[in-house]
Subunit: 207 residues, 2 copies
DNA sequence: TAACTTTTTGACCATAATGGTCAATAATAT
DNA sequence: ATATTATTGACCATTATGGTCAAAAAGTTA
């Protein structure tokens, strides 16, 4: 069905995909404009509809594509054998940073798609959401070794604090990094800053 | 200039204001529709333009209104004499929850307004931003008593962690609470949950 | 070279939505 | 009953929408 599109060179595919993800992520299904997408992607109107019949088909293709990427490049790579929550979350956030760089609008798009209220696509989204991977949020905390926490610490709450703190740090970094090229990012600086925070939290909650 | 609008009954004013704040907050200046606003506010098209000449005037009025509210009902009420960071942030977040309830779209709108790229209003926003109140973020941490922190703790980082954790908690609550009526909100439950988190953080970082 | 296939274009549709107007109606005050 | 004010919504020109399609450009095969 999308074979024509899929046999394009990767670079062009990505350009179109990114443009479309961005537009939908920013405006939602109804308000997203195919004109904007083709302008941003640098292709003609006709070509977009040549690849993806309709706006709706494009949207649903993007969703399936996003789920696939999320599975193979994010959730699928989370190592649930790592039972130390700090090491685990460290790994996960580095992963997320990478995915973010390769697909800057993927997470935003997924969120918009899942929560869309648009009549045109809601039904299709609803049926897709049924066979979705476990939310991932659960996966973050799956099989964590709780015996490492100090006695008397409410582990659930502690994990939430850790989660929020890392999320806050992550968002701050993401803001800074969003515009930059991968090569411009000071990975080492970010990492040592990150580790300083993890170390503080470890001292707070671990034995 | 907006005297006609300002002499309306408060209830109607609020209805119009909230509808407009919501539409602009959700779609940004360019994509916001005055038709949507009047529909949501339950007034006729003509009336909106009778009160606020143009879409642009409405937008700028809303911004000034938002700044005013933020000043008088939020930043202005922060007690910087309270030097304990936990007590301070506790107070601030309760305040924020209240403002959120009275004006659910105010914070989102302000953000959208400040970051807008729309040609129609960018210049006016730029000049307004100059004489803006200190960002508030600074005010959160102004005059905090750092001597209460454990020796050897990097206070700056600790405060960030505290800030992120509270922000995370706050957002979670906001999500839950957004739709509800003020009377339906289980303030006591939220508060005791909040206090449990604050207590944990206090144990982490205070002497 | 020429014939044929595939990819790509953008001017062009009907339709719908946009910000804004204004004569006319309804509500209120005198 | 008259004058004033508040409110309506059909209407306007303009712009944007998702989608089409004949034709041009690029690529392939001979």
């Amino acid at each position: 069905m999308f074979s024509k599109f899929l046999s394009l060179e990767k670079e062009k595919q990505e350009r179109i995909l990114n443009a479309a993800l961005k537009e939908f992520a920013q405006k939602g299904y109804d308000d997203a404009s195919t004109n904007e997408i083709v302008k941003e992607a640098g292709i003609s109107k006709g070509l977009l509809f040549h690849y993806f019949n309709t706006k709706k088909d494009l949207f649903l293709f993007l969703y399936d594509y996003s789920v696939e990427i999320t599975k193979t490049e994010y959730y699928g790579l989370i190592n649930t054998n790592e039972r130390d929550i700090f090491t685990r979350l460290r790994q996960i956030y580095l992963l997320k940073l990478e995915v973010y760089h390769k697909h800057p609008w993927l997470f935003d798009f997924t969120k918009v798609a899942v929560y869309t209220e648009s009549k045109e696509v809601k039904a299709e989204m609803e049926s897709r959401k049924k066979d979705v991977l476990s939310t991932g949020y659960e996966k973050l905390f799956e099989n964590i070794d709780v015996s490492k926490f100090k006695d008397g610490v409410d582990v659930k709450r502690a994990m939430k604090i850790i989660f929020w703190a890392i999320g806050g740090f992550g968002n701050e970094i993401l803001e800074e990094v969003k515009e930059l090229e991968l090569s411009q990012v000071d990975y080492d600086g970010i990492l040592s800053e990150f580790d300083a925070y993890l170390e503080m939290l470890r001292k707070c909650f671990y034995k």
